[in-house]
Protein backbone atom coordinates (compact mmCIF):
# COMPACT_ATOMS: atom_id res chain seq x y z
CA UNK A 1 0.00 0.00 0.00
CA UNK A 2 1.42 3.42 -0.95
CA UNK A 3 1.81 5.79 1.99
CA UNK A 4 -0.63 8.34 0.57
CA UNK A 5 -3.27 5.66 0.17
CA UNK A 6 -2.60 4.39 3.65
CA UNK A 7 -3.20 7.85 5.09
CA UNK A 8 -6.43 8.12 3.20
CA UNK A 9 -7.70 4.83 4.58
CA UNK A 10 -6.76 5.76 8.14
CA UNK A 11 -8.55 9.04 7.70
CA UNK A 12 -11.63 7.37 6.26
CA UNK A 13 -11.71 4.80 9.08
CA UNK A 14 -11.26 7.54 11.68
CA UNK A 15 -14.07 9.54 10.12
CA UNK A 16 -16.46 6.57 10.23
CA UNK A 17 -15.66 5.91 13.88
CA UNK A 18 -15.81 9.54 14.98
CA UNK A 19 -19.07 10.14 13.17
CA UNK A 20 -20.49 7.16 15.09
CA UNK A 21 -21.54 5.68 11.77
CA UNK A 22 -20.10 2.32 12.72
CA UNK A 23 -19.61 0.16 15.78
CA UNK A 24 -16.01 -0.38 14.71
CA UNK A 25 -13.81 -0.78 11.66
CA UNK A 26 -12.29 -4.18 10.99
CA UNK A 27 -8.80 -4.06 9.50
CA UNK A 28 -5.28 -5.17 10.25
CA UNK A 29 -3.35 -3.62 13.10
CA UNK A 30 0.39 -3.38 13.37
CA UNK A 31 1.25 -5.47 16.38
CA UNK A 32 5.02 -5.56 16.99
CA UNK A 33 5.63 -5.50 13.26
CA UNK A 34 2.99 -8.10 12.37
CA UNK A 35 -0.35 -7.25 10.79
CA UNK A 36 -3.15 -8.82 12.82
CA UNK A 37 -6.94 -8.48 12.40
CA UNK A 38 -8.33 -5.92 14.81
CA UNK A 39 -11.61 -4.11 15.35
CA UNK A 40 -10.76 -0.43 15.60
CA UNK A 41 -13.17 1.34 17.92
CA UNK A 42 -11.39 4.62 18.61
CA UNK A 43 -10.26 7.21 16.07
CA UNK A 44 -6.83 7.59 17.72
CA UNK A 45 -6.20 3.85 17.31
CA UNK A 46 -6.33 4.19 13.54
CA UNK A 47 -2.66 5.23 13.39
CA UNK A 48 -1.77 1.56 13.69
CA UNK A 49 -3.97 0.50 10.79
CA UNK A 50 -1.90 -1.32 8.17
CA UNK A 51 -2.46 -3.33 5.03
CA UNK A 52 -2.37 -7.09 5.21
CA UNK A 53 0.17 -7.36 2.42
CA UNK A 54 2.38 -9.88 4.16
CA UNK A 55 -0.04 -12.08 6.04
CA UNK A 56 -3.49 -12.69 4.64
CA UNK A 57 -6.49 -13.07 6.89
CA UNK A 58 -10.09 -14.07 6.27
CA UNK A 59 -11.29 -10.62 7.35
CA UNK A 60 -14.84 -11.14 6.10
CA UNK A 61 -15.10 -14.33 8.11
CA UNK A 62 -14.08 -12.40 11.21
CA UNK A 63 -16.61 -9.74 10.29
CA UNK A 64 -19.37 -12.32 10.02
CA UNK A 65 -18.52 -13.64 13.47
CA UNK A 66 -18.63 -10.15 14.98
CA UNK A 67 -21.85 -9.35 13.16
CA UNK A 68 -23.51 -12.51 14.50
CA UNK A 69 -22.44 -11.58 18.02
CA UNK A 70 -23.73 -8.01 17.70
CA UNK A 71 -26.88 -8.37 15.63
CA UNK A 72 -27.63 -4.63 15.56
CA UNK A 73 -24.19 -3.14 14.97
CA UNK A 74 -23.13 -1.48 11.73
CA UNK A 75 -19.56 -2.47 10.93
CA UNK A 76 -16.83 -0.92 8.84
CA UNK A 77 -14.27 -3.04 7.04
CA UNK A 78 -11.22 -2.38 4.89
CA UNK A 79 -11.67 -4.59 1.84
CA UNK A 80 -9.56 -5.75 -1.05
CA UNK A 81 -10.98 -7.12 -4.28
CA UNK A 82 -11.45 -10.66 -3.01
CA UNK A 83 -12.95 -9.51 0.27
CA UNK A 84 -15.49 -7.36 -1.50
CA UNK A 85 -16.48 -10.36 -3.64
CA UNK A 86 -16.87 -12.51 -0.55
CA UNK A 87 -19.04 -9.86 1.10
CA UNK A 88 -21.26 -9.80 -1.97
CA UNK A 89 -21.66 -13.57 -1.64
CA UNK A 90 -22.58 -13.17 2.04
CA UNK A 91 -25.17 -10.51 1.19
CA UNK A 92 -26.58 -12.68 -1.55
CA UNK A 93 -26.92 -15.66 0.74
CA UNK A 94 -28.65 -13.63 3.44
CA UNK A 95 -25.89 -14.01 5.99
CA UNK A 96 -25.47 -10.31 6.47
CA UNK A 97 -27.63 -7.37 5.38
CA UNK A 98 -25.70 -5.02 3.08
CA UNK A 99 -26.85 -1.99 5.08
CA UNK A 100 -24.87 -3.19 8.05
CA UNK A 101 -21.51 -3.07 6.31
CA UNK A 102 -19.54 0.01 5.31
CA UNK A 103 -16.68 -0.85 2.99
CA UNK A 104 -13.43 1.03 2.60
CA UNK A 105 -11.80 -0.22 -0.58
CA UNK A 106 -8.10 -0.70 -1.10
CA UNK A 107 -6.44 -1.95 -4.28
CA UNK A 108 -3.72 -4.60 -4.16
CA UNK A 109 -0.20 -4.04 -5.44
CA UNK A 110 0.94 -5.62 -8.66
CA UNK A 111 3.10 -8.10 -6.82
CA UNK A 112 0.22 -9.23 -4.60
CA UNK A 113 -2.04 -9.63 -7.61
CA UNK A 114 0.54 -11.79 -9.32
CA UNK A 115 1.07 -13.92 -6.24
CA UNK A 116 -2.66 -14.59 -5.92
CA UNK A 117 -3.22 -14.97 -9.70
CA UNK A 118 -6.04 -12.57 -9.03
CA UNK A 119 -8.68 -11.82 -11.65
CA UNK A 120 -9.72 -8.55 -10.04
CA UNK A 121 -7.19 -7.19 -7.53
CA UNK A 122 -9.25 -4.14 -6.62
CA UNK A 123 -12.69 -3.50 -5.12
CA UNK A 124 -15.27 -1.54 -7.08
CA UNK A 125 -14.79 1.64 -5.04
CA UNK A 126 -11.16 2.34 -5.90
CA UNK A 127 -10.03 4.95 -8.38
CA UNK A 128 -8.71 4.09 -11.82
CA UNK A 129 -5.20 5.28 -10.93
CA UNK A 130 -4.72 2.83 -8.06
CA UNK A 131 -5.85 -0.22 -9.98
CA UNK A 132 -3.28 -2.69 -11.22
CA UNK A 133 -3.64 -5.13 -14.07
CA UNK A 134 -5.40 -8.42 -13.26
CA UNK A 135 -3.01 -11.34 -13.18
CA UNK A 136 -5.43 -14.18 -13.78
CA UNK A 137 -3.79 -17.25 -15.22
CA UNK A 138 -5.01 -20.79 -15.56
CA UNK A 139 -1.70 -22.56 -16.08
CA UNK A 140 -2.28 -24.55 -12.88
CA UNK A 141 -5.56 -25.93 -14.20
CA UNK A 142 -4.13 -26.71 -17.61
CA UNK A 143 -1.22 -28.53 -16.06
CA UNK A 144 -3.63 -31.00 -14.47
CA UNK A 145 -6.01 -31.16 -17.40
CA UNK A 146 -3.38 -32.21 -19.89
CA UNK A 147 -2.50 -35.33 -17.89
CA UNK A 148 -4.10 -38.54 -19.14
CA UNK A 149 -7.11 -39.66 -17.14
CA UNK A 150 -5.40 -42.33 -15.06
CA UNK A 151 -2.47 -40.12 -14.14
CA UNK A 152 -4.84 -37.33 -13.22
CA UNK A 153 -6.64 -39.69 -10.89
CA UNK A 154 -3.37 -40.82 -9.34
CA UNK A 155 -2.26 -37.21 -8.96
CA UNK A 156 -5.40 -36.24 -7.08
CA UNK A 157 -5.49 -39.38 -4.96
CA UNK A 158 -1.89 -38.77 -3.90
CA UNK A 159 -2.70 -35.17 -3.07
CA UNK A 160 -5.92 -36.00 -1.21
CA UNK A 161 -4.16 -38.79 0.67
CA UNK A 162 -2.09 -36.18 2.45
CA UNK A 163 -5.16 -34.68 4.08
CA UNK A 164 -5.06 -34.59 7.88
CA UNK A 165 -8.71 -33.53 8.11
CA UNK A 166 -7.93 -30.31 9.93
CA UNK A 167 -10.86 -28.55 8.21
CA UNK A 168 -8.52 -25.60 7.65
CA UNK A 169 -9.73 -25.02 4.09
CA UNK A 170 -13.31 -24.85 5.30
CA UNK A 171 -12.65 -22.77 8.39
CA UNK A 172 -10.78 -20.10 6.49
CA UNK A 173 -13.10 -20.02 3.47
CA UNK A 174 -15.00 -16.73 3.31
CA UNK A 175 -17.75 -18.40 1.29
CA UNK A 176 -18.32 -21.16 3.90
CA UNK A 177 -20.84 -19.71 6.31
CA UNK A 178 -23.10 -22.66 7.21
CA UNK A 179 -23.53 -23.42 10.87
CA UNK A 180 -23.69 -27.16 10.22
CA UNK A 181 -21.42 -28.73 7.64
CA UNK A 182 -21.67 -31.60 5.18
CA UNK A 183 -18.10 -32.52 5.96
CA UNK A 184 -19.09 -33.37 9.52
CA UNK A 185 -22.14 -35.40 8.52
CA UNK A 186 -21.43 -38.98 9.68
CA UNK A 187 -23.70 -40.56 7.06
CA UNK A 188 -21.64 -39.00 4.26
CA UNK A 189 -18.13 -38.95 5.73
CA UNK A 190 -17.21 -41.68 8.16
CA UNK A 191 -15.96 -40.06 11.36
CA UNK A 192 -12.62 -40.99 12.86
CA UNK A 193 -10.86 -42.01 9.65
CA UNK A 194 -7.48 -40.75 8.61
CA UNK A 195 -7.06 -39.76 5.86
CA UNK A 196 -10.76 -38.98 5.44
CA UNK A 197 -12.70 -40.84 2.78
CA UNK A 198 -10.89 -39.69 -0.33
CA UNK A 199 -11.65 -38.32 -2.84
CA UNK A 200 -15.19 -37.50 -1.72
CA UNK A 201 -14.18 -35.49 1.33
CA UNK A 202 -12.67 -32.90 -0.97
CA UNK A 203 -15.26 -33.32 -3.69
CA UNK A 204 -18.13 -32.57 -1.31
CA UNK A 205 -16.53 -29.24 -0.53
CA UNK A 206 -15.63 -28.66 -4.17
CA UNK A 207 -19.23 -29.11 -5.25
CA UNK A 208 -20.40 -26.66 -2.60
CA UNK A 209 -17.90 -24.16 -3.94
CA UNK A 210 -19.29 -24.39 -7.46
CA UNK A 211 -21.41 -21.26 -7.38
CA UNK A 212 -19.81 -19.67 -4.33
CA UNK A 213 -16.02 -19.73 -4.76
CA UNK A 214 -14.68 -16.22 -5.19
CA UNK A 215 -11.20 -17.53 -5.97
CA UNK A 216 -9.31 -15.81 -3.16
CA UNK A 217 -6.88 -18.68 -2.66
CA UNK A 218 -6.96 -18.61 1.14
CA UNK A 219 -7.78 -22.34 1.26
CA UNK A 220 -4.56 -23.32 -0.42
CA UNK A 221 -2.52 -20.98 1.75
CA UNK A 222 -4.14 -22.41 4.86
CA UNK A 223 -3.59 -26.07 3.98
CA UNK A 224 -0.79 -27.41 6.18
CA UNK A 225 -0.22 -30.35 3.83
CA UNK A 226 0.04 -28.30 0.67
CA UNK A 227 -2.89 -29.92 -1.16
CA UNK A 228 -3.68 -27.78 -4.23
CA UNK A 229 -7.36 -27.46 -3.30
CA UNK A 230 -7.70 -24.10 -5.00
CA UNK A 231 -7.33 -25.79 -8.38
CA UNK A 232 -10.34 -27.93 -7.60
CA UNK A 233 -12.48 -24.95 -6.64
CA UNK A 234 -11.23 -22.89 -9.55
CA UNK A 235 -12.23 -25.72 -11.84
CA UNK A 236 -15.82 -25.87 -10.60
CA UNK A 237 -16.02 -22.08 -10.60
CA UNK A 238 -14.87 -22.14 -14.18
CA UNK A 239 -17.33 -24.86 -15.19
CA UNK A 240 -20.22 -22.93 -13.68
CA UNK A 241 -19.10 -19.95 -15.72
CA UNK A 242 -18.88 -22.01 -18.91
CA UNK A 243 -22.19 -23.80 -18.34
CA UNK A 244 -24.37 -21.02 -16.93
CA UNK A 245 -22.39 -17.83 -17.55
CA UNK A 246 -22.32 -17.05 -13.85
CA UNK A 247 -19.35 -15.93 -11.78
CA UNK A 248 -19.79 -15.73 -8.01
CA UNK A 249 -19.08 -12.44 -6.26
CA UNK A 250 -19.81 -10.24 -9.25
CA UNK A 251 -23.37 -8.97 -9.11
CA UNK A 252 -25.30 -8.76 -5.91
CA UNK A 253 -28.69 -9.23 -7.52
CA UNK A 254 -27.78 -12.36 -9.49
CA UNK A 255 -28.36 -15.68 -7.70
CA UNK A 256 -26.15 -18.73 -8.06
CA UNK A 257 -27.53 -21.16 -10.68
CA UNK A 258 -27.49 -24.09 -8.25
CA UNK A 259 -29.43 -22.16 -5.63
CA UNK A 260 -32.73 -22.00 -7.45
CA UNK A 261 -34.74 -24.23 -9.74
CA UNK A 262 -34.80 -21.98 -12.80
CA UNK A 263 -36.99 -22.03 -15.86
CA UNK A 264 -35.81 -25.33 -17.33
CA UNK A 265 -33.99 -23.61 -20.15
CA UNK A 266 -30.87 -25.46 -19.20
CA UNK A 267 -30.87 -29.03 -20.38
CA UNK A 268 -28.05 -31.42 -21.03
CA UNK A 269 -27.30 -31.88 -24.70
CA UNK A 270 -28.23 -35.36 -25.92
CA UNK A 271 -30.83 -36.13 -23.27
CA UNK A 272 -34.55 -35.79 -23.17
CA UNK A 273 -35.04 -37.30 -26.62
Amino acid sequence: MKSGVKEKIREEAGRLIEGKEVFGVLACKNSSGHPLPHLFKGADECQDLVSEAEGRYPLTKVLLKIARKHPQAVLGIVVRGCEERSLIELFKNHQLPAERVKMIGVACSEEMARRCRCAQPYPSGTGESERVKPAEDFSDLKEVEKLPEQERFQFWMNQFGKCIKCYGCRNICPACFCTSCTLEEPSLIKPGEMPPEIPIFHLHKAYHMADRCIDCGLCEQACPMGIPVRRLYRKVRQSVKDLFGYLPGEKEEEKGPLEFLGDGSYELPGTGK
Partner: protein, 117 residues
Protein backbone atom coordinates in the same frame (compact mmCIF):
# COMPACT_ATOMS: atom_id res chain seq x y z
CA UNK B 1 -45.37 -56.64 -20.09
CA UNK B 2 -42.22 -57.29 -18.10
CA UNK B 3 -38.97 -56.06 -19.58
CA UNK B 4 -35.67 -57.62 -18.69
CA UNK B 5 -32.77 -55.40 -17.72
CA UNK B 6 -29.20 -55.91 -16.59
CA UNK B 7 -28.94 -57.66 -13.22
CA UNK B 8 -25.87 -55.62 -12.21
CA UNK B 9 -28.07 -52.65 -11.41
CA UNK B 10 -29.05 -51.62 -7.90
CA UNK B 11 -32.14 -49.43 -8.20
CA UNK B 12 -32.55 -46.81 -5.48
CA UNK B 13 -35.97 -45.21 -5.52
CA UNK B 14 -36.38 -41.57 -4.58
CA UNK B 15 -39.48 -39.43 -4.83
CA UNK B 16 -37.99 -37.00 -7.33
CA UNK B 17 -34.72 -36.66 -9.23
CA UNK B 18 -34.39 -33.34 -7.43
CA UNK B 19 -33.89 -35.41 -4.29
CA UNK B 20 -30.64 -36.81 -5.69
CA UNK B 21 -28.19 -34.53 -4.00
CA UNK B 22 -24.68 -34.39 -5.50
CA UNK B 23 -23.45 -35.74 -2.19
CA UNK B 24 -25.38 -38.94 -2.82
CA UNK B 25 -23.78 -39.29 -6.25
CA UNK B 26 -20.35 -38.87 -4.68
CA UNK B 27 -21.20 -41.35 -1.95
CA UNK B 28 -22.19 -43.92 -4.56
CA UNK B 29 -18.83 -43.58 -6.29
CA UNK B 30 -17.00 -43.77 -2.98
CA UNK B 31 -18.85 -46.97 -2.13
CA UNK B 32 -17.42 -48.45 -5.30
CA UNK B 33 -20.16 -47.98 -7.89
CA UNK B 34 -18.75 -48.31 -11.41
CA UNK B 35 -21.42 -46.06 -12.83
CA UNK B 36 -24.33 -43.99 -11.61
CA UNK B 37 -27.48 -43.44 -13.64
CA UNK B 38 -29.88 -40.71 -12.63
CA UNK B 39 -33.29 -41.24 -14.18
CA UNK B 40 -35.83 -38.45 -13.81
CA UNK B 41 -39.08 -37.28 -15.31
CA UNK B 42 -38.91 -35.27 -18.52
CA UNK B 43 -38.36 -31.55 -18.29
CA UNK B 44 -41.74 -29.91 -17.89
CA UNK B 45 -43.36 -33.04 -16.52
CA UNK B 46 -42.10 -32.88 -12.95
CA UNK B 47 -44.72 -34.05 -10.49
CA UNK B 48 -43.38 -31.54 -7.99
CA UNK B 49 -43.14 -28.67 -10.40
CA UNK B 50 -39.49 -28.07 -11.16
CA UNK B 51 -37.37 -30.66 -9.34
CA UNK B 52 -35.65 -31.93 -12.47
CA UNK B 53 -34.50 -28.45 -13.52
CA UNK B 54 -32.06 -28.51 -10.65
CA UNK B 55 -30.98 -32.08 -11.37
CA UNK B 56 -29.92 -31.13 -14.89
CA UNK B 57 -27.71 -28.33 -13.57
CA UNK B 58 -26.25 -30.39 -10.75
CA UNK B 59 -25.32 -33.35 -12.92
CA UNK B 60 -23.65 -31.08 -15.47
CA UNK B 61 -21.39 -29.53 -12.82
CA UNK B 62 -20.73 -32.90 -11.25
CA UNK B 63 -19.61 -34.35 -14.59
CA UNK B 64 -17.04 -31.59 -15.00
CA UNK B 65 -15.76 -32.24 -11.49
CA UNK B 66 -15.47 -35.99 -12.05
CA UNK B 67 -13.65 -35.46 -15.33
CA UNK B 68 -11.21 -33.11 -13.63
CA UNK B 69 -10.19 -35.53 -10.92
CA UNK B 70 -9.75 -38.33 -13.43
CA UNK B 71 -12.90 -40.37 -13.01
CA UNK B 72 -14.49 -40.68 -16.43
CA UNK B 73 -17.48 -38.36 -16.70
CA UNK B 74 -19.24 -41.10 -18.67
CA UNK B 75 -19.64 -43.04 -15.47
CA UNK B 76 -22.34 -40.58 -14.52
CA UNK B 77 -25.38 -40.35 -16.73
CA UNK B 78 -28.61 -38.44 -16.64
CA UNK B 79 -31.66 -39.63 -18.56
CA UNK B 80 -35.23 -38.45 -18.64
CA UNK B 81 -37.49 -41.49 -18.38
CA UNK B 82 -41.19 -41.10 -17.71
CA UNK B 83 -43.24 -43.56 -15.64
CA UNK B 84 -44.86 -45.01 -18.72
CA UNK B 85 -41.59 -45.52 -20.58
CA UNK B 86 -40.72 -48.93 -19.18
CA UNK B 87 -39.12 -50.01 -22.42
CA UNK B 88 -36.94 -46.92 -22.48
CA UNK B 89 -35.88 -47.62 -18.90
CA UNK B 90 -34.85 -51.18 -19.78
CA UNK B 91 -33.04 -50.01 -22.90
CA UNK B 92 -31.12 -47.21 -21.14
CA UNK B 93 -30.13 -49.45 -18.24
CA UNK B 94 -28.86 -52.10 -20.64
CA UNK B 95 -26.99 -49.57 -22.75
CA UNK B 96 -25.44 -47.92 -19.73
CA UNK B 97 -24.39 -51.13 -18.02
CA UNK B 98 -22.83 -52.26 -21.30
CA UNK B 99 -20.95 -48.97 -21.55
CA UNK B 100 -19.74 -49.14 -17.96
CA UNK B 101 -18.70 -52.76 -18.45
CA UNK B 102 -16.51 -51.66 -21.35
CA UNK B 103 -14.94 -48.92 -19.20
CA UNK B 104 -13.91 -51.49 -16.63
CA UNK B 105 -14.11 -51.25 -12.86
CA UNK B 106 -14.02 -47.85 -11.22
CA UNK B 107 -10.62 -46.89 -9.81
CA UNK B 108 -12.48 -46.24 -6.56
CA UNK B 109 -13.66 -49.83 -6.38
CA UNK B 110 -12.91 -51.46 -3.05
CA UNK B 111 -9.98 -53.67 -4.06
CA UNK B 112 -8.14 -50.93 -5.92
CA UNK B 113 -8.84 -48.37 -3.26
CA UNK B 114 -7.12 -50.56 -0.71
CA UNK B 115 -3.93 -50.29 -2.73
CA UNK B 116 -4.12 -46.53 -2.99
CA UNK B 117 -4.53 -45.93 0.70
Amino acid sequence: MRFKYAASVLPIRVMCSGRVSPHLLLKAFQEGADGVLVAGCHIGECHYGKGNYLTAKRVAVMKELLRFIGLSANRLRLEWIATSEANKFARVVNEFSEEVYKMGPSPLGKSIQGAVR
